[in-house]
Symmetry: C2
C-alpha cells in the first residue's frame, strides 16, 4: 500500500468508525417490559374538594421515590358514559416501575409509608391493579 493510499484508507476507516458509532447510538433500545401499578381511590367524602386536594398532594410526593419511573395522577375523565366504564372513583395513581423489585422497594419506602400514614383516613376504598407488560 502506498503512503497516500494508506492515509486515504485510514481516513476512510476513521470516518466509517465515527459513522458506525453514531448509528449505534441512535438505534432504538429494546423496549423494557415495565410493571404498571394502577391504583384507584374512592374518597370517604367524595364531594370534598379539600380531601381531593389533600390526596392529590400526597400522591405527588411519591414521584420522589427513585424506582418510580413514571407517575400519572388523574381524576375522572368526562368520556362518554358506557356500561363498562367505572365512574365511581375519584382519584387515580398510575406508576411505572422497571421491575417487580422496584414496586416492592416503593411499597416499603419511607415516602410511601408517610403518604399512607397521612392520607389513608381520606379513603373509603382502594383498588390496585398490577400489570406486567407483554
Amino acid at each position: 500500500m502506498k503512503v497516500n493510499s494508506r492515509r486515504k484508507f485510514l481516513a476512510t476507516t476513521a470516518i466509517l468508525g465515527t459513522s458506525l458509532a453514531v448509528s449505534a447510538s441512535v438505534l432504538p433500545k429494546p423496549k423494557k417490559k415495565q410493571l404498571v401499578h394502577h391504583v384507584f381511590f374512592w374518597l370517604k367524602n367524595p364531594d370534598s374538594q379539600e380531601d381531593l386536594q389533600q390526596l392529590i398532594e400526597g400522591l405527588k410526593t411519591l414521584e420522589k421515590i427513585e424506582t418510580v419511573k413514571q407517575i400519572h395522577i388523574g381524576v375522572l375523565a368526562s368520556t362518554e358514559k358506557r356500561e363498562v366504564v367505572d365512574t365511581s372513583w375519584q382519584v387515580s395513581e398510575l406508576l411505572f416501575f422497571d421491575d417487580l423489585e422496584g414496586q416492592l422497594i416503593y411499597q416499603k419506602h419511607p415516602i410511601h409509608l408517610a403518604f399512607v400514614e397521612k392520607c389513608s383516613h381520606l379513603m373509603a376504598k382502594v383498588v390496585v391493579y398490577d400489570a406486567l407488560e407483554m
Copy 2:
C-alpha cells in the same frame, strides 16, 4: 462608537442571540395532560392460552390508530397478594390519548371496531377506567 468596537458589539450580539435561541429550543415543553384509558379483561376461558393470545394479538392492532399515543398491553403481575389488589382479571390494555377527542376517534375507529368484532366473544367481563391527568 468606533468601527472596530461596533463590529465587536455586533458580533457579540449575534453570538448572544444564537445562544438565547439554543437555550429556548432546549427548554422543557410544558407537560401535556393526557387521557389515560385503562381497560381490564376477564376471559370466558381464563385458563385458555389460545384465547389469551388471541386477545393480546387483537389488542396489538390498536396501536396503529393514530390518536393512540402510548399502548401497554399487560398480564397479571406476580406482586405480593394484598387485600386491595385485584388479581381476578387476565389482560389489561393501557392507552394514552392527547385529549378526549382522541379517545372518541379511537372508539369509532375501524381498527377498534374490528377488534371488538373479532375478540368480544372471548370476554366474560370488561371494566374501563378513564382518567384525566392533573
